[in-house]
């Protein structure tokens, strides 16, 4: 499946960023092949109000079916619910480790 991961850097060795709405990048990853796309999040990083909502719009538009994030503010959580995209807690891990943990079902839901 296709998932989005908040990332500090532009490859799988990077750490999961410690923000959702203002994360530096989203890596959109195919969990089977581990092919990925790097999406820069500058518009939301620099933007006005609603960076969390903007980030949800961004990953929803890319077809992400789930997101791995450090934590979520209430606005982002609400928008994810509307977009039907579940979020999982992955703070402190590298992107690669987070994806592995997600595939093993070890990550907890963030927005339950």
């Amino acid at each position: 499946m296709k998932i989005a991961v908040c990332s500090e850097g532009n490859d799988l060795a990077a750490k999961v960023d410690n923000r959702f709405g203002r994360t530096s990048f989203f890596l959109v990853i195919d969990t089977d092949s581990l092919d990925f796309e790097v999406i820069s999040n500058t518009e939301n990083q620099n933007g006005a109000h609603g960076s969390g909502i903007g980030a949800v719009e961004l990953i929803a538009g890319l077809g992400a079916e789930a997101v791995l994030a450090p934590e979520l503010g209430p606005a982002a959580a609400g928008a994810l619910r509307i977009a039907s995209i579940p979020a999982y807690a992955a703070g402190g891990l590298t992107v690669a480790d987070a994806v592995s943990a997600f595939k093993r079902g070890e990550l907890t839901r963030l927005d339950a």
């Binding site: 933007g47 609603g50 903007g54 949800v56 719009e57 928008a79 977009a83």
Partner: protein, 296 residues
Amino acid sequence: MKPLKLAVASGKGGTGKTLVATNLAVAVSRLNKTVVLVDCDVEAPNDHLFFDFDANTEVVEVPIPEGPTGECPRGCTLCRDACRFGAIRILNGKPVVFPDLCHNCGACVQACTSGLLLEVPIRVGETRSGSTNEGFALVMGELDVGKMKAPTVIDATRSRAGLEQAEVMILDAPPGAACSAVATLHVVDFLLLVTESTVFGLHDLELMVELGRGLGLPMGVIVNRDGSGSVDIAAYCYREGIPIVGRLPFDRRIAALYAKGELIVNSHPEGGEWFSELWNSLESRIRDAMPRRSAV
């Protein structure tokens, strides 16, 4: 005839805006002028606590977009692109509105070429208007808890107050110097700034003077709790060319009366005199500062 509009404001909360506004309204009313007291501190209105007040309530609403009323054209983002506030986004191919971010401007509805968005009113607060037991009108606004449209409620409050045929309008402003203060102070005839002689009072007075200058308002200062701090407000005012129009002493009796919701002009031996003197000090300054206008 348009009323003379006096706004009572302060950068810092708790300096005595409401104390001054309520008591001044009574004092002016007793000089046989028709007065309307306007409580623009819509997040935490307090003026009505000092009076018996038979109020007539009106709801304040703002338009919020709703829809789509049909199928959106695939890939269309016209509404989202028209919004400068990020308040309408496309999720799962449909527009989703985030009401807290919405500025109620209608840009998205205008931009939709498919006619699929409409606007519905939602409630953000209310205004209340009526007579007080002191014989003058009180108009107040109250923002609903959790809503963020304070300036909208303030505009509605001021409009409603404008319907009163009063000679003098006294506006009790919210604390601060941002959009709520601007909505209250915009186009008034005189700005009375309440301060205290502490470092914090002076610091926040400077912010308000900057705002007052930006708005082009004639200003005067009243020092409350005079004697309680060591900062020389008079020196600052002199340097800035702003008159000190009155002083209220630091007096625990004043604080105790205020705490119980009592008017100083009624319950303190010197109250009536303080506030009629304040009005005398203000009235000529305000009239001098006002441009000529035609009688209606």
